[in-house]
């Protein structure tokens, strides 16, 4: 399972890079989190979190985490460290909880102790529960104030719920790390919407990242056919789904004839045809100075990563990268080492690290392939 393979070299318009496979034969890896000691956690959609030690080429399954409702798109989703992990060893996991008849996205937290997770406690469950195994959202992002945001999906069959601010389907929610509701949420008093709602009108957001330099929260979401979009998330804002959309139903019919409407936020960009946006990173490392400040969007359908260059809050260019992997990209992250990490989506999924072309891999386990 664990391997170090120097696979391929490539070049973007601005930077030369090489791709290094760190782990493979992972069944549908969904997210990755980096531990301070150099290990990393990889959540597999099938209901497992691996702790991978690169130096020892070893992997262990974390114990103590709850079972998940694993079907279709359901399973384990995002694994995230507490901002104060160094002192509290706390981790968070989002996953599909429940039964075929009643399931939804849940967040649990627990204390990581080696390969076990202790004191595991649910802190938030998206309600109402639904009877479809798709469109869960599930991406978690902490904000600088210590609160946590998470995306939720519309459950596919319940798309109109995304426009109901009292309903948690199709939202970005914001909670405290213990599951309580921050007092400064846009609907905190409950009179205009659910207190946990941060923004609404989303379909199935699968990317969420915070730009701490500019204090901006970005999310992208799977739209209908031709409607994947990148949004700048604002408190209390409506992103339109399903009343306003750039996409159409897969049957060919309009979801809605409205492509824009007063009071509905416009996406920063959208993809038609859909790329299957999954995973979102803001590159802030030193290894690729040319990439700093750019957003990286994984593409399941197009089997590549889209690098978006932003200027003054607008997307001014877009470039496809890493298509030489020939793999669906599930997640993209910037690691603490300033390198970019990719998760490929398949039964034999991989963790791939993106390094500068000139980097010394410093390992005797590397095997070159072309």
């Amino acid at each position: 399972m664990i391997t170090l393979t120097l696979a391929l070299s490539g070049a973007s318009a601005q930077a030369s890079y090489k791709l290094q496979t760190l782990a493979e034969d992972l069944a549908f890896p969904w997210s990755i989190a980096f531990l301070p000691d150099g290990d990393y956690l990889v959540a597999l959609r099938g209901g497992e979190v691996l702790r991978i030690n690169e130096a020892n080429q070893s992997s262990t399954t974390l114990t103590g985490l709850p079972p998940s409702y694993v079907r279709s798109q359901g399973g384990y989703f995002d694994i995230t460290l507490d901002p104060e992990f160094d002192s509290n060893q706390r981790i968070y996991l989002s996953f599909a909880h429940g039964t075929p008849e009643a399931n939804g996205t849940r967040i649990v937290t627990g204390i990581l102790n080696g390969s076990s997770v202790e004191n595991v406690t649910p802190i938030f469950t998206v309600e109402p529960l639904k009877d479809t195994p798709v469109h869960y959202g599930g991406k978690i992002q902490f904000l600088p104030d210590g609160t946590m945001t998470m995306t939720t999906g519309d459950g596919f069959e319940y798309r109109e719920a995304a426009q109901d601010p009292f309903n948690l389907l199709g939202k970005v929610i914001r909670i405290n790390s213990d599951g309580s509701i921050p007092a400064d949420n846009p609907f905190a008093d409950g009179s205009q919407g659910h207190p946990a709602v941060w923004s609404y009108g989303h379909r199935n957001p699968q990317g969420l990242v915070f730009d701490s330099a500019n204090n901006l929260l970005y999310a992208h979401e799977h739209g209908a056919k031709g409607g994947d979009e990148l949004n700048l998330i604002k408190a209390g804002a409506n992103y339109g789904w399903p009343a306003v959309s750039k996409g159409i139903n897969y049957s060919g019919a309009y979801v809605t004839p409205l492509r824009s409407a007063p009071g509905v936020e416009e996406p920063l960009t959208f993809w038609d045809p859909s790329i299957g946006a999954s995973g979102l990173a803001l590159y802030n490392g030193d290894a690729f100075p040319q990439w700093q400040g750019n957003l990286f969007v994984g593409a399941l359908v197009d089997q590549e990563v889209r690098m978006l260059t932003l200027q003054e809050g607008r997307v001014v260019s877009e470039q496809a990268l890493f298509s030489e992997l020939n793999a669906r990209i599930r997640d993209v992250r910037t690691g603490p080492d300033g390198l970019l990490y990719l998760l490929t989506d398949s039964e034999q999924g991989k963790v791939v690290r993106v390094l500068p072309e000139a980097a010394d891999l410093g390992s005797t386990h590397n095997n070159e392939e072309n």
Binding site: S72, G252, A253, Y254
Partner: protein, 145 residues
């Protein structure tokens, strides 16, 4: 044979157009129910768009549904000729309605969004019934309805 084939093609097209229009207006009804305004021009644009863009998946499904449903009616009508009109209309109604129900059962999801409601589902049945009626009229010999 040519008459039967031609009648079937017209029946499929008729059911498809009516069914697509029901889908179109059903989707718009859901949007307006959310408090958004949709103008008459947007409704007409959506109707034209949907009728001309649902050919990849929905049209074949309508064709297969009627291909399965109408022969059943034919078998019954051979024994009960006086039920000809009712038989074909009912067969078309059940065929398109069953298509949606089966898709939901197999996929776990509604392939045609408006069929999530009873009215949307019945509308698909009506489209199928119109297809059955067209087949009944056009395939009739010497006005044998």
């Amino acid at each position: 044979m040519a008459r039967t084939l031609g009648s079937f093609v017209v029946a499929v097209l008729g059911a498809y157009v009516v069914g697509a229009l029901f889908v179109s207006q059903g989707n718009i009804a859901a949007v307006t129910a959310l408090g958004f305004d949709v103008s008459l021009a947007q409704r007409l644009d959506a109707a034209i768009h949907d009728v001309t863009h649902m050919t990849d998946i929905y049209l074949p499904l309508v064709a297969v549904s009627l291909l399965l449903g109408l022969p059943v009616a034919f078998a019954v009508i051979r024994k009960q000729p006086h039920l000809r009109t009712l038989g074909y209309v009912l067969a078309g109604f059940v065929a398109l309605l069953a298509m949606q129900v089966i898709m939901k059962a197999v996929l776990g999801l509604s392939g045609i969004a408006p069929t999530r409601t009873l009215w949307g589902l019945l509308a698909q049945g009506i489209a199928g019934g119109i297809g059955g009626y067209l087949f009944c009229r056009l395939s009739a010999k010497n006005g044998a309805l």
